[in-house]
């Protein structure tokens, strides 16, 4: 059963992966990281991604209409050169965390990366 670091290493094997971090959106704290952060700085990237995650978590428009209990699963941002993929981690004790994966758009497959990141997020909180 994988710990945080093993899951991050695994995420770096996703085709096109540039960097990955596990971030607490309530505090902006980087709980773990692998690969390169944006401009070489995982912490600055975590702070920016935290703003994005909060905007999604704190606004009910992004939850499913019938139930606020079902929150957003992931956030995708694309720029000409990059994909930024945020995946919320559902641990059952309100950990308020998400995985933040940056991908090189030239080599990444967004649909596949999203599925792989989902499976890693699920494995992180397995059992």
């Amino acid at each position: 059963m994988a710990g945080i670091d093993e899951c991050l290493v695994e995420a770096m094997a996703i085709p096109g992966a540039l960097g990955i971090s596990l971030v607490d959106w309530t505090s902006g704290l980087t709980l773990g990281a692998a690969g390169e952060g944006p401009s070489g700085d995982h912490d600055a990237g975590a702070a920016d991604a935290t703003e994005l995650a909060r905007a999604v978590v704190q606004n009910p428009s992004f939850a499913d209409p019938d139930s606020a209990a079902t929150l957003a699963e992931d956030v995708i941002v694309s720029s000409p050169g990059r994909y930024h993929l945020l995946r919320f981690v559902e641990a059952g004790f309100e950990s308020g965390t998400f995985l933040y994966l940056r991908l090189d758009r030239a080599t990444a497959n967004l649909a596949m990366a999203r599925l792989l990141l989902r499976s890693i997020a699920e494995r992180l909180v397995l059992i």
């Binding site: 059963m1 994988a2 945080i4 309530t26 704290l29 606020a68 309100e94 950990s95 992180l124 909180v125």
Partner: protein, 300 residues
Amino acid sequence: MSLQVRPALVPRRRPSALAPGRTLGDVVEALAAEHRTGAVQSTTGVVHLAEGEVLQVQSAAAPDLPTLLVRSGRLTEQDLLELSGTPREPLFEALLSSGRIGRGVLELCHLSAMSDAAFLALPQDSGPVRFQQGAHPQLGAIRPIDVRTLRAAVAQRRALLDRIWPCPWLDTAPVRLSANTEARTDTGWSRGQRAVVRVADGRRTPLVIARLLGRPAFATLLDVRRLAAAGLVETPPDRAGPAVVAAPVRSPVPAALAAPTALSAELSLGAGESAHGPAVPADPEVALLIRLRAALEARL
């Protein structure tokens, strides 16, 4: 052998917003700078250090790791009893080797519990502090964290609360629902917010509600501020008045809530050492909080 750490450089006869004294966070950061290993105990919590890094933070007002694991349905209390750690095999190792919990979950849960306790304990005026050199946490050690990083995270969380609804006194005031809240059927509430609304009876404070629900204290404070911002929870006027005494309203928890008497026996350090700190809180509201909590615990 324990070492007495002087709580403050300045005599604290007259606590005021101008001379607030040292916080537990200040004391821990100073010890961490010396790469110390051991347990720091104050009236607001216990912090374990190893080579200057934080291994664990405990606050009587925040749910600990076993509580979070049980409340999330990942373990039963029976599991915990069977696995209860020994000095040779601390709880972390026992949990992992039992195969009943994954390392990822355990690490995340540990970080959550530690952040929550740090949020409550570190910003508090430290009061008298004891440092037990070489003491190790009973749970064991996983994912140590730098004390400055932890303090920055605490500050970020406080800023988040104030961004949502800048009324810090709501953190310690009884949660009173607005007149029309019961009738509101909006679907925009989260599960946590619904839980808070369900148990808010006009007397329970956010921390009492958090304990009742077995939820992290910070998550509950966040929900209360969001409910207040949405007008579903009343925002009483700031009783301390504007900018007269900053210290009491700035504190998320009355210090006495985490007084030594409230710390469980396993947390108390060095048998035979007398407990410092006020046994009877001077503030009648704090006394009421403690009575409320005692009553709640008696019913659990």
